[in-house]
Symmetry: D3
C-alpha cells in the first residue's frame, strides 16, 4: 500500500528550507504531493511568481528526490470551510499532511486528516520574505535557493519584475 | 397585513447585545428576518464560526421570542451596489431595516427601503471583539452570551478552534 | 443528544409532496434542516421563485410540524467535490441525509455521511414541473400545494411572473 | 432635464435591425445608453466577437446618430434577481428601458423602471443568427450590417474565427 | 491606419489632472480608450462612485476633446496574469498604453504592448484622495474637478453619500 | 535550450489514445506539459473523475515516457478571451501546442503561440465517451486504458460512482 504525504507552501520563491523539509519527508512516505498555494497569484510584491514558474522551480530542484512526487497548483478558495475538500479534489489521495501552518493544521484536523507538524518544518518559514528583500536590495539571495532556481529566476527576469512592481505608484 | 423587519449582523458569536436588540425589535414588528452576514466566512480570527454554527446559536437563543423569525445566511457580494438586491432576493419581503451600520443604512436608503437606526442598536456593537479576546485570554466570556451559546461553542470546540487559528505562523 | 436530519429540494414551488415527506421525516429525527437548493436562481422558467419567497412558503407551511426545523438557502457551487462541505458549513450539524437524488446520495456517501433514501421520498419528485405547467395553462395548480403557498404566490404575483418569463423572445 | 433611454443587446454582430431601432429611439430621448450584453463572452459559435470588438462596431455605426450615446459592456451575472441593480450600477441613470425581451421586461418592471416594448423593436431580433449562418455558408451577410461593421469584421478576421470555432472537435 | 491609445484610472472622482493628461494624449493618437478601473466598486470610502457615475463624469468632461474616445468599465480580475488579456478583450484594439502605474506598466510589457510613461502623467495621481478629503472636510473640492463633474456629484448626492459611508460603525 | 510542448485533454478517463499521442509528442520535444482540462469538474456523468484522480492516472501511466513531463490541472475560466493567458500562467513556458481541438487551436493562434494539429491527434478523441458507456453497460472498458488506470479506477470505486450518478432522479 502506497503511503502519500501532502505538503503545501506558496514557494515565492522555492528555497533551501523547502528543499530540506521535502528531503526529510521523503524518508517518511512513499510519494509526496506538493501543493503550490495561492496558485492564482502573481505579480504582487509578496507573490511575484506565477504558478507555472513555481512548478518549474520545484520540479527541477527535486530532480534527485528519493521518492516520486506530484506538484499541484492550488488556487485559493475564499471559504476556509471548503478548503480541505478543495485540496483533496485536486490531489491524489494522501494519508498525512505535513504542516506547521496553524490554519492548515486546523482545517485538516476538523476534516479528519492526520496532520504532523514537527518543529523542524518551521525552519525557514519566512525565508521567502527575506529572499525577496535581498532581491530588491541587490544582496546575495542566490545562496538561499537551489541553483536551478537561480537559473529560472534569471531566465524569466524575476528580479527585474519584482523591482518594477515594487515601485511606488 | 404582516409587518416584517430586517436585522443583520455577523454574530461572531451571537451575544447578549444582539439578544436585547432583537427583543426590542420584536415589539415593533410582526416578524423578524435575521440576516447572518459574511456567511461564507469561518475559521478566521475575526470570523471563527461557520454560518451553520451561528444560525444554531441564534435560533436556540430566540426560543421564546414573542414573534416569529427567520434566520438567513447572507454571503458577501463583492459589489456594494448589488448588496441590497442580494439581501432582498434571499429574504422574505420586509418593510423596515433596523441598523446602525453606516454602509447598511446608505445601501438600503439609496435602494428605497425604510431604515431605522436608533442609538440603542449600537450598544454592544463591538462585543464580538471583546468576547473573542476573552476566549483567547481565558477570561469570562460566558457572561456576555446566552447560555445556549455557551453550550454550542463547547459542543463544537469553538474556543480551541479560535486558539489554534490565532497562533503565529 | 439531539438527532438532526437534512433534506434538500429546490421547492419551485413548495408542494404537498414535500410536505408529506417532511412530516414523515419529523417522526424520525428531533430537528430537521431544510436546504433550499439552487438558492441563487430565480426568474427562470424552471426556477421562477427567489430563495426568500421559497423560504417563506416552507416556513409558513410547516407551522404545525411536530419538530423544530431550520430553513437554509444553499447556493450552487460549481464544483461537486466541494458540495457536501459547502452544505455542512451552512447548516447546523446533522446525523442523516434524507434524499433520493442520485448525486446528493453519492456526494454525501463519499463524504461519509449517512444517507437514507426510501422509495417514498420519490413521490412527487416531478410535481414542481407539473405545477408550473398548470400555472401556465391556467389549470388547477392550487390543489397541489398547501393553501399558504397559494396565498404567497398570489401576493407576489407569481403566476404573472412565470407567464411573462415564459414568453418567446 | 435630460431624458435617457437604455437599450440592450448582444450584438453578435451589430446589424441593420439594431441600427434602425436605435435611430427610432433617438427620437424619443435625449441620450441613449447601449448595453453590450454577455460582455464576457467571445469565441463561441453563438457569441464569436469580444466586447471590445462589439463596442467598436456600435460606436462607429452610430457616428451620425442625432443624440449622444454611451456604449457599456454588461457582463452576465448568474443571478437574475441582481441583474437590474447590476445594469444600473454600470450605467448613467436612465428613465426608460426599450426592450421586447421578456426577461429584461420582467426584471426591470419588478425593480420599478419604466419599460417600453413596441412591436417594432422585435424586428430583426434573430438576425444575428442569420448573419452568422451566412458567414459560415459564404453567403451575403454583408447586406445585413452597416458597412463599417463589414470593415471591422474583415480587420479582425471575424469570418475566419467563426469558421474555425465552428469545426467539429 | 487609426492609432489608438489606452489610458486607465479609477476616477474617484474624475478631476482636472485626468483632464489635462487626456488632452495631452489626444495630441499623440487618433482615438483614446479610457478604462474605468475597479468598475465593480462603489460605496467604499476610497471608491465612492459607481462605474456608471464615473462614465458620465468622463464623457461629459471630454465633450470638446479633439479626438474620438471610448469609455469602458474594467472590472478587477483577481489574477494579475490575466489582467492584460482581460483589458484587451473589453476594448477596441490599441497600439500604446499611457501609464505611470508600475503594475500596469509591467503587465502590459510582459504581454508585449508598448507602454509610455512620461513623468507628466504622474501629476495629480493622488488628487482623488485629496478631493475626497476635502469633500469630507467641507473644503473647496470643486476647484479640482471640471465643472460638469461638480454638477453630477451634486445631482447624485455624492458628498452626502461619502459622508455617510465614512461614519464610524 | 529546452523545447517544451503543451497538450491538453479532459482525461475522463485517461486512455490508450492519449498514451500514444503523448508518446509521439515525446519524440518532438524535450519536455511535455499535460494540462488536465475542466479540472474543477467531477461527479458528472460526462466528467466523473476529480482532477486529483486524473493526475494520478496520467502520472503513473507515463512512468516510462522518454522525456520529463508536468501534469497541471487547468480549471475552466468562463471567458474564452482569457483562456490562453490562464493556461500560460499555470504552466512552465512552452514553445508549441499540440491540439486538434478547434477552439484550443484558435485561442492559442490569436494569442501568438505555435499550434500543431496533425490528424493523428484526433484518433480516439471520443474514446472517453465510449469508455464511460462501456463502464455503464458492464462491457470491456479495460482494454481501452493503460493497466494502471484500471487499478486506480478500481481503487476509487470509479465504476460504482459513475453508475450511481447516472441514475435517473
Amino acid at each position: 500500500m502506497v503511503k502519500r504525504g501532502f505538503y503545501i507552501g506558496r514557494f515565492q520563491p522555492y528555497h533551501n528550507g523547502h528543499q530540506s523539509v521535502l528531503e526529510a519527508i521523503s524518508d517518511e512516505v512513499d510519494e509526496i504531493i506538493i501543493g503550490v498555494g495561492s496558485a492564482q497569484m502573481s505579480h504582487f510584491v509578496n507573490n511575484p511568481f506565477t504558478a507555472g514558474e513555481r512548478i518549474m522551480m520545484i520540479t527541477r530542484s527535486l530532480d534527485k528526490l528519493k521518492c516520486p512526487f506530484y506538484v499541484i497548483p492550488i488556487e485559493d478558495v475564499q471559504r476556509n470551510a471548503l478548503w480541505a475538500a478543495h485540496v483533496k479534489s485536486m490531489s491524489p489521495p494522501f494519508d498525512v499532511v505535513f504542516s506547521s501552518n496553524p490554519l492548515v493544521v486546523e482545517l485538516f484536523r476538523e476534516e479528519g486528516t492526520l496532520v504532523v507538524s514537527p518543529e523542524m518544518y518551521e525552519r525557514g518559514t519566512h525565508s521567502g520574505t527575506e529572499i525577496r528583500r535581498r532581491m530588491l536590495m541587490d544582496e546575495n539571495w542566490q545562496e538561499l535557493v537551489p541553483s536551478v532556481v537561480v537559473d529560472i529566476i534569471e531566465e524569466i527576469g524575476g528580479v527585474r519584475r519584482l523591482s518594477q512592481i515594487s515601485k511606488k505608484d
